[in-house]
Amino acid sequence: MIQQRNGERRVHMPKFEESSKVALAADVPGPATEQPLLAVDDLTVKIGTRVLLQGVSFTLSPGEFCGLIGENGAGKTTLLRSLVGTQPSPHGCVKVCGFPPSRARGMVGYVPQKINFAPDLPLRVCDLVQLGCDGHRLGPRWFSRKSSEAVSRALAAVGAEQFAKQRIGELSGGQQQRAVIAHALARQPRLLLLDEPLANLDFKSANELARLLGHLTREHGIAVLITAHDMNPLLSLMDRVVYLAGGRAACGSVEEVIQSESLSRLYGYPVAVIKHSGRIMIVPDTEGPQPDEACYMEPSNGRNRERITK
């Protein structure tokens, strides 16, 4: 019922079976090895006949800050859920430090989209962070110096010490977001996944949170994958960007991906990229000469996407 960190539940991903054995035989790869922290290869998610993600491939190295950008419904949350192993029926290969997601839970911290904490929920911020350490374990909790140190470290990393003893439901949205990030950091993950953390926040809190995440990648060497429908608050931080549209992805540096040609190919529709005073806007290109639609159709072998990735 409860799956421990090394639980055996198999997510239906046929490709894992062989390769995971190989990875288990070796030691857990350290940061020095060449292996990417996160490798997604040809990930496809279908629910019924609806294709949510199609052939998504990218890799992430330790300490990288990667934005997962796309409009609402582009498949951002589906992709993140596939990375933590809670998305049903993914096809393709996802590896975290060489392990399938269900075996790498201790290495991945996940911050879901806005959680609605009831104001009367009897849970303090530090209790939530403590649950980040050991919430999946059975039996009563015994006091341990190690876990209380982990809690205070996680609280300090997000600057949440001041409201650590307050009920989480009574805090502001930004403070709650910090608390959930501390919860995700409690087990000292190497990869932090955040689902739209900047939505629902006012400008000031969003800005502070973005700087905090940048700090985490630089100081703690944690790789951050963050979804957003608006990339502007993240522009100065992103080392890489994965742009999702219609279930397909383009991956690379911001300059490579966020340009009219590659995005038009991704959307299958002409779009224009407007840059103004360090801000980027992506709009449908209705002004310029309408190109032949056919040249934007996605080739079935996905060659174009690979070119963008390289």
Partner: protein, 302 residues
């Protein structure tokens, strides 16, 4: 004061057999209901808990017919109803009330049938009142140990699943990324709820079971900031209500010149009064919240 209290207790109260059984069975019901009630309230399953209590009356009335232990009857039907709730989708927000309503209706219909048989075939005219509103002093002392065993089972299961349950109450998605199956947690929670409700139905009656389940937990949640404190507070309030109710019902024999009032009334009245008291208490404690961060900065800078 203490001497008076002891002398009151000593006057045959604790030496009476029925009182002894009432204190033990009622006490174990109070503890289990308090612990599981906290999670039930937090999960928003208060209505489902009430429905399980009502439905378990079918088991209670059937036990009169079959001549089995009423605890077995309450527990069996409550567990069946819990599985039915799960099957009909009680965990989906949109279907929760519908599933609960369907199970509640079907269960009470069954209860009406069994109570009719009780009255017509056996001459137990008091069956309806006993099943619906309980009579703790009428419990046979043979039910003491089964009740305590059921209570211990529920508490051990809760002790095992405490942390995953909390995490799944806080946010199911947060729980599932840690490898916790929300589906199985939900099933086990409903089964534990059935155990709590069966014990409560045995002591205060199936209709009043939800008072013991929801009242102490809700009152305690209002006042506490930590899950463990909320549970502990609910246990204390529950025990206070049940034991206080038993004592008052026992004493009411002398208060009302030989007409003792029902235990269940006193238990539910105490719970209700405690819940009302939490409203001003919450207001008083709420004003002592820490100084807002901005104010701290301002005073620190000056």
């Amino acid at each position: 004061m203490m001497g008076w209290f002891l002398s009151v207790l000593h006057c045959e109260f604790l030496r009476s057999g029925p009182v002894d059984t009432a204190l033990l069975v009622g006490g174990s019901a109070a503890v289990v209901c308090a612990v599981i009630g906290v999670f039930t309230v937090l999960r928003g399953h208060a209505f489902a808990g009430h429905a399980l209590g009502d439905v378990s009356s079918a088991g209670g009335s059937a036990s009169f017919l079959a001549g089995i232990s009423p605890l077995a009857g309450f527990l069996g039907i409550a567990a069946l109803a819990a599985l039915a709730l799960e099957f009909l989708g009680v965990r989906k927000v949109r279907e929760q009330d519908v599933a609960t309503g369907i199970v509640l209706g079907a269960g009470l219909g069954l209860s009406a049938l069994f109570l009719y048989f009780d009255i017509t075939t056996t001459s137990t005219t008091g069956a309806a009142v006993t099943v619906m509103f309980g009579s703790m002093f009428a419990l046979s002392s043979s039910i003491k140990w089964p009740a305590i065993i059921v209570a211990c089972l529920a508490l051990v299961a809760m002790g095992l699943l405490y942390r995953p349950l909390i995490l799944s109450v806080v946010d199911p998605e947060l729980a599932s990324t840690r490898g916790i199956s929300n589906h199985w947690i939900g099933v086990v929670h409903l089964l534990m709820l059935a155990m709590a409700v069966a014990l409560a139905a045995l002591s205060v009656g199936s209709v009043l079971a939800s008072a013991l389940l929801i009242g102490p937990a809700a009152a305690s949640i209002r006042l506490s900031r930590r899950p463990t404190v909320a549970i502990l507070g609910a246990v204390i309030i529950g025990l206070l209500a049940v034991w206080g109710g038993v004592w008052m019902a026992y004493e009411s024999y002398y208060w009302f010149s030989g007409n003792s009032w029902p235990v269940s009334f006193f238990v539910v009245a105490i719970i209700f009064i405690i819940y009302l008291l939490t409203i001003p208490l919450k207001y008083l404690t709420g004003r002592k919240t820490p100084v807002p961060v901005a104010v701290q900065h301002a005073t620190g800078a000056s």
